[in-house]
């Protein structure tokens, strides 16, 4: 029964991906892509990856969708359906892709690895990692170096978005005026509580800095769309500081550990506290970076102040 459901879901995913890329109108393609992302989150639940399902729904579908819609609005939705590539390029590419898919499927089918990876090792060291959620342990303890560099990637992306700014920023629509203002005012406490809760719960259950940061980014987008959009400018010291704080805080914690061991080697008793500190810093930067990327897509970043 569950296998039948999974099979249905798997087939639906492939069809949705194909449909998203085949839509004639670009705006419909974008919406289809977002639907595809949401349904993918369902597949990740089915393979026991709730952390990823949460992040995919928030970032893969939510943030990416917002970025796509913003870009679409800026360039206008009247893009004509792409003209066809001539057949002598098209045919080999199609055949090559088909062969590639066949080959990969055959490899997986015949050589499906029967080992369990590092699951046992990761769970065995869990008591020394400062939490009970193995994914958080991987991301912020065992392989924290990856995440530090990843935060740098996000920081660089936000900086690059500022390099795109040139003209006076375009005005964003104020779609819901007073109602949106009311909504934001009433919901803000709940949003704040949810963000803190998501970071907090990450140590033992699905959550952590990335879904929380995506939520913060969503709030940023709503504020941008609202009646009094905040000024995002590289000239602002606050903006520069908040963009960098996630990476900087992470790096300082990493360096602080050198006192007693290797870089990033938290003492077992304090591991949870250090990880939380890192995550709160990251959440702020992730949220602001997503907001900046959205503003960059919408053409809404400010320049340096005069003088």
């Amino acid at each position: 029964m569950t296998l039948a459901f999974d099979a249905l879901l798997a087939v639906a995913l492939v069809l949705l991906a194909d449909a998203a890329l085949r839509q004639r109108r670009t705006s419909e393609a974008v919406v289809q892509f977002m639907v595809f992302g949401l349904i993918t989150a369902l597949a990740w639940i089915r393979v026991d990856a709730p952390d990823l399902a949460l992040t995919e729904a928030a970032i893969g579908s939510g943030v990416t969708g917002a970025l796509l819609l913003a870009a679409l609005r800026r360039i206008g939705s009247e893009i004509p359906p792409s003209s066809r590539v001539s057949w002598w390029i098209r045919l080999p590419v199609e055949a090559g892709c088909l062969a590639l898919g066949g080959l990969l499927s055959w490899t997986l089918w015949t050589a499906w690895p029967e080992t369990s990876g590092l699951a046992a090792a990761a769970h065995q060291e869990l008591p020394r990692s400062g939490g009970t959620n193995p994914v958080t342990a991987v991301v912020l303890n065992y392989r924290a170096w990856d995440t530090l560099l990843e935060m740098a990637v996000l920081w660089v992306a936000a900086l690059c978005a500022f390099a795109l700014r040139d003209r006076s920023p375009a005005a964003l629509p104020d779609p819901a005026g007073p109602v949106l203002r009311y909504y934001l005012a009433r919901m803000m406490p709940l949003f704040g509580l949810t963000i803190v809760y998501l970071v907090w719960v990450g140590a033992r259950a699905p959550g952590g800095a990335f879904p929380a940061g995506a939520l913060l980014g969503g709030i940023g987008v709503l504020l941008l769309l609202g009646p009094q959009p905040p000024r995002l400018a590289l000239g602002s010291r606050t903006t520069r500081f908040l963009l960098a704080v996630g990476t900087a805080n992470f790096l300082f914690v990493a360096l602080a550990m050198l006192g007693h061991g290797e870089l990033l080697e938290y003492p077992v008793a304090q591991a949870k506290a250090w990880i939380l500190l890192i995550e709160f810093g990251c959440t702020v930067s992730i949220g602001l970076s997503f907001t900046v990327l959205f503003a960059g897509c919408a053409g809404h970043l400010h320049g340096e102040p005069e003088g």
């Binding site: 590092l118 170096w145 390099a163 040139d166 050198l258 290797e262």
Partner: protein, 494 residues
Amino acid sequence: MIPAEIAVPLPVVLPLLAALGFGLARPHPGVARAAMLLLALSPAPLLRLVLQRGPVQADLGGWGPPLGIRLDADGVTVLFLLFHSVVAGVVGWVAAGEDEAPSATERSRLFWPLLAVAWAALNALVLSRDLFNLYVSLELISLAGVGLILLTGTAAAARAAIDYLLLALVGGLLYLLGVGFAYAAADSLDLAQVTSALVPGPLAETALVFLLIGLCIKSALFPVHTWLPPAHANARAPVSALLSGLVVTGAYIVVLRLWASGFRALAPSLLPDLLAGLGALGIVWGGWMAWRQERLKRILAYSTVSQTGYLFLVYGLGGAEAGPAAGVWAGTIALALGHGLSKAAAFLAAGMLAARAGSDRLDALRGSVLTQPVAVGLFALAAANLMGLPPGLGFLGKWLLFKAAFAQGQWALFSALLLGTVLAVMYLVRPLERMLCGSAPKPDEAGFREGALAALPVLGLALLPFIVSWWLSGPDSLLHVGSVLPALPEGGVP
């Protein structure tokens, strides 16, 4: 002495700290210069450790493989860290001079953090021995590279940045698929553990093929090189110097490490010849296109495609410890280093020439030796090594490859090497001839003195390939410290 757990990550941590600092406040040119010096010295403690103790490791987080990430510094790693220090340091030094100019724009605020991040990521790339961590480092390099290209602010630069970023994204994702297969087959991401655990079979082969496809896109191997020329030709000169000199080599180093650490035993028999064949095609195609360009920076950009091709010949030449293939690994590393140093110097010289002439079109540079003898001299020096004149690193590398191809009777590769050398002479002599001949406006004394001072570090960059080649070929050079690559044969250097 600084302990290993500090010395090993220091070349990454220090540039990253500097980047964050630069991101918060735009550095004064003097501060930027001091910072460049400091960052260039960041591998020094590690160099001392490695020379005294041999290879050193740092297990980040204290976990160690397979659960944690290990940084590992052997002789080749330190050699590349020093290489990054020299090139990025000089690039930063020259750029600090440009920042003093009144034309420095708002975008120059972004140059410093991006330069330092790219530097940190390149150092992270050569230190890391973890397949997935390599992916993150590669993506960080790509994004910083895109940002640096964007600083030009023109439509051509934006178009080039889009092509570069899209291909880098796709290349990175394909590499990631390879990582997934390798992990599934070996239950580890640590390079040494993966190569010892993998058994030849469909999983290992698929993993290797996808890792290679991703890396080849990022290092601009022949059919997937199309992103490189516009990207490198449309950036500011210091940025082009950094991208062509270091970034392309960065992705290539990962290929070399994968191959040398044991992946070559898993490769399907066709693969080495395929890589070498594409390399040979790249040499010829890049050289031919370089010859046909009318702009100096485009010539240099296509030259990078050609010179990257050389680095892939090694896979078709075997690379055994002794016998006919001896020395090809060392030769390839010599070529990579020599190309990076000289190409950076050539781009910086081209930047000086173009700034004065108002354009980098060959016609505009006619007779520029009279107005800018220093810049033309620097360009000529860099060109000499790129052509492979002795006793530079380019010569050393090509000589070793020639010898191996000859000894193995690999005539196709041999003729590609030959053709590439001829083409290099052709495409480099062409701009030189324009610069040296023709009349020009009267020379300008003040400009000359100014230019000479700024050019001093670039002169070091251009001369280094000729100095280092003696030292690199010695038996006690860094190349041999705990490296998986076979050593240079005795008397291998003419």
